[in-house]
Symmetry: D2
Subunit: 299 residues, 4 copies
């Protein structure tokens, strides 16, 4: 019996990077939070404190900045791929690289009804995310978003569930369904000309439509149908994973007050919340490798 | 010399309340965080633990729910006024009431290009706020927002400042200016037919336009002009207060890398940040009374 | 009628500063979050964008670092006073200065039962705070803490309160009382040899003892007695202000499960919460001036 | 090619539960955040919205409360095991259960130098965690903590690292090393009489001692030695995983100010930060199964 080094990675997390495009009076802006992690021949750094193979995390930060200059980092997936290739191709001990990106959305301020050239307001509830894993010969891109808060005020029921001696929940044919959705979908070995921005908008639209129009019998069922719709719309997607807290809205009891409450006034509760994790995948999907081995999101 | 009770207030903070309107298949939604504080003849509760004058905070919560049923809480200012009047008019020991409200914005999900009847996505960066102070015979409504994140990628300079022996900052003719704006404006003894939603949209638009078009010499000057523009546009507003962190964007130094950086790649720093507090008011403004005595925001 | 500039201040917020003392192998550490705000003759900066009187916030940051070198910033109140005097005495346009400080507590790691020379673990739930306002000839120091979470599992009742038609709360003779306490106490024109660290420990101890031993009839009464005890113990204190959320612990209803619950199992709820603001002061207290005009805590 | 349901779990997250022991005037308190997730025969719920096998998350919450009454939930690992067994043993469709627990620490308030019977103050920086995975016939308990903030003011160097064209970092023989440590260690098929509280205190102490006494050549090496020390001290532990942000403390440059700075004044930066993930395991460790499949921490 011996004690051995297990899985490991290291890198620079949360480099907050703003890239402007100023080649005309109409400026462009890309606002990112970039993290990079390297995997490879780093055992000596852990076991003996030998840094000879260790590219400093400070250098990784510098590289993130420089690559944002070399190419405008939009779509973020292309930027992540370029940066990952730099680490894997140019830095000898690096065997695999992971780039995680958050993108914050801005829109132009309206002045006199027209979009302004260089003034922006941050918009959007959700944060677009990308995670590139380059582990030659495989390449994985996990596109996604987090914090997309959606709600339907009807068209959701929950009944005919398992009842045991600790069950007090009443079945319902009409409830509010609300969640703060995290969704991530994997494309392995993507085509060079894949339209990442188009796919992002498309998957989001397809999932929102499904959320809206499905007669919901449970959040589980809703997530499955949303995920399946994404895979049906985009054959490039190998699998999709969804995490959704069930943000409970409790009907306030008005009977003590001689008032009616016909599904009109709700208490939006914080904790606890139901939590559902679901995934949909193609049965012939390429292997995921380390595509889901997160870096910054790990608890 | 004696030790005496000083200023005090008590109430229920952060009642999370969702109000639906369901009188047609096209549902409406109002999503609020409501806090109420009572001021009045409550000394005995502090000094002797005598609760006879104390309306429980739980009752205040119930009242917030019931009043959201009696009237759809939109505009939030009208709802706040109605709830404040209930406490002051109907509960004997209450001499003044303060209602603080945050409103979260939702828009309809698009399905097939059309807005959906009952499915919503949370939008908007900023949170709309209102603080009603009813202290008869005066009534104050402080309308506002927080967390409105804006940025201009040029049109901002900072130079010709005071230099002492600890000054290392270099003057600049072109920098990013970005802030997360909190703005609050006071209307005292408002007219019954004041269009609160129109005023909110108008003040926000006027301030954003000013932010965009002003050649900024400093964040102080920018805030003053934004505030003054709001007062010029709306004679009902007695004063406006703005708080703005200067969210620094530092140009990344590319000289070690044989790359240029012509105001293109920036590091968005977290802390420290400059912080500016400014206010503009009419010289004949009605007295503010306790309009600015906050409840939940107090540290 | 004219629109005029109202109250304003500007400065550098949240400079995160760690000061080591290394004059022996047993190191000392002081870990601070420092904010400085200047008040004075700055109207031209707002009205005209004229920066000639404006000491950059970047310089204020540099000054905070340099003063932490000149004197070990412990007690934080002495450091704040020294830094405030620098701004008011050495920078001509500055008429008043405010320094706000948060201090994070560290203790030594135990190695073989003995405290280690240079290894520390962050401890303590609460954050010690200080706010120095130097507005010659007056000087105010507001000492305090925030986030001190306390709970008593019995010895708290709430009954005989005002009941109206919206009251459903049941009176109780035995409940959990818990809060996350913010307390701030003012010393004006402090003696040069005031033992700030001793006062901090003393006020905290006195208030905790009072919280523990008082038979609580309401959070209002508890806060008053805690504040009064602090003033009784320290004649230097002119006034004290307390803000306390009533962190509700609801007894879980076990009747459906054929189990008893004799005040044993509680749900600790997040929102809404009762919120109490109380203050105690001497009836001959020196005027507070701008001692309570906060900088960073303002919403 | 077909689209199929992938890995899934569902449950109730973050039930905030306080358990008092009141069988003597000296009360005991256990303060927990409990999450439960079920895995098993739930495909129909996703695919068809069929809830017949679905135990509501509300029932899981009720069960968490009831089990906290049946047994005092201390150690939390025993409580988690009991609750997991309830779900797996008593609810037919459940094939595996995961219980994740956070425990918040309280100590007694001192009154007159003695610990008070029923008044507590929340203490401790770190949060103790446990994750029980019951997937018969295997049982895994992952004990751990998060948010343990540690710092050493010397005894840390970083040099002789890989240098490429983007490297600007200077080597150092003396720097501050600080991190907010997350550590989790797995015990599979634990003995019934395992002293969980003793193991928790022991692992924490061993790791802190190692952090203090090791001459650090890199955070990677430090983590490895901390993890190995835990496995050497406790043969029951199969593996340990550590995640550590390198909380950078940058020496402030005083050369413009004619001041020295001999590793005395530092800027504690927020972002970006280095991030290191390390693990140590026995080469004959029992398989981990789904022990590391997190529920609430998943991004």
């Amino acid at each position: 019996m011996a004690i051995v080094l297990g899985p490991n990675q290291y890198g620079k997390a949360e480099t907050r990077l703003v890239r402007l495009v100023r080649d005309s009076p109409v400026h462009g802006i890309t606002d990112l939070n970039v993290s990079s992690a390297l995997r490879g021949d780093f055992d000596a750094a852990y076991l003996d404190g030998d840094q000879r193979n260790v590219l400093p995390t400070d250098t990784q930060k510098n590289s993130a900045y420089v690559w944002a200059k070399k190419v405008v980092p939009d779509p973020i997936e292309a930027y992540g791929l370029a940066l990952a290739h730099h680490f894997v191709d140019d830095v000898a001990p690096v065997e695999a690289a992971r780039i995680e990106i958050e993108r914050f959305d801005w829109t132009r301020v309206a002045v006199g009804g027209a979009p302004h050239d260089h003034t922006f307001v941050r918009t959007g509830q959700e944060v677009r995310t990308a995670a590139v894993t380059l582990e030659p010969p495989a390449t994985h891109v996990v596109q996604g978003f987090k914090d997309l808060i959606v709600l339907k005020s009807t068209g959701s029921r929950f009944k005919d569930f398992l009842v045991d001696e600790y069950t007090t929940l009443q079945p319902t044919d009409d409830r509010i369904m609300a969640t703060s959705l995290t969704a991530r979908w994997r494309v392995s070995d993507p085509a060079a000309d894949l339209d990442w921005n188009g796919m992002y908008a498309g998957v989001k639209a397809v999932m929102l439509e499904r959320f809206a129009t499905l007669d919901s019998l449970a959040l589980q069922q809703t997530l499955w149908h949303m995920g399946r719709a994404a895979l049906e719309a985009y054959p490039e997607i190998a699998e999709i994973r969804l995490v959704a807290p069930n943000k409970h809205h409790f009907l306030v009891d008005f009977t003590p007050f001689d008032e009616s409450n016909e599904n009109e006034v709700f208490h939006a509760d914080d904790r606890p919340y139901g939590l559902i994790q679901a995934s949909a995948l193609r049965d012939d999907a390429a292997p995921a490798g380390d595509a889901w081995w997160t870096f910054v999101d790990l608890a």
